[in-house]
Symmetry: C2
Subunit: 191 residues, 2 copies
Amino acid sequence: MIVDMVRRSDSRVRMISAARQLFREHGYRGTALVDVIAASEAPRGSMYFHFPGGKEELAGEVILAHGTTVIAQINRAAASTDSAAELIAAFLGHYRDDIADSGYRQGCAVTPIVIEVTPASEALSAMTRQAFGDAITILTARLEEKSIDREHAKELAVNTLVAMEGALILSRALRSRQPFDAAIAALTASA
Amino acid sequence: MIVDMVRRSDSRVRMISAARQLFREHGYRGTALVDVIAASEAPRGSMYFHFPGGKEELAGEVILAHGTTVIAQINRAAASTDSAAELIAAFLGHYRDDIADSGYRQGCAVTPIVIEVTPASEALSAMTRQAFGDAITILTARLEEKSIDREHAKELAVNTLVAMEGALILSRALRSRQPFDAAIAALTASA
């Protein structure tokens, strides 16, 4: 019984994780549910069991999962650094190395959802909005803790997330770390 | 004869323009060729006449068309301003107003191509790379003409285009001009 429940929840988590990876490389519409099932090695019939709302519900879970990792990355960068400038360099440096390590194949999992299905999908519009709002809130708080005043911390947080999303696109197009390095240089100078 | 040629070239231009609008709202894979034909009011059989390479060839033309308008926008902003800071504010301000005017529905036409089909499509990878490279080159030149030294001009150009792409995503998700305003404040201070 317990083994069954673990397996069941396992296959749900694996499907979300597989979808997240596929969205990062091929976008939302470029990811077929059959590919998610194959990549997660889940039983074929389990997709609509775990996600009765289909691809839109799965995408909502991808937004939650990806948003959580971004917040964890902000907190990891904050815990391992002393200044606001170091925090920003560590945070953006992580995404720079991540896209380079993927051979410039994998960007943000949430960006494709924003540009392909918002505002068309009301549910996913609300969730992407909340994901970006939460990341801004947490990054602002961590910057304030490193002695940046509230107003400047909020602006710096927005600019850091703008830079992350923009640099993921330019780095992928140019196959280069340089957009991230330029953003890190400018933002750390302004911190 | 001449009227025929004009009409023929007209329908090709209209198809590129319609595809560009549709990519901005629905992405690359979210845009069906049948929708491009309907939106451009082109004869149904004319798609493969004008674009024997199909959707990939049409997307290549969208990259060229969109890249050209970005360069025109850089030059327009440069011609109407005195300083590098004013140039950057005018350039980013245009895209801020543009996405707000669309009801936060229409972003960049090239971003979906980058995140959905690069590096999978070699042809489109080369074209997106060139489009971003050209925009960086032209913006660097216009900033140098406004008395920014070469090294700083290059970094500022990259950061301005990173900010444009990132702010188009965050503005659309948050349904707000604020990501653009934060980017303009930071970049004009550093110019």
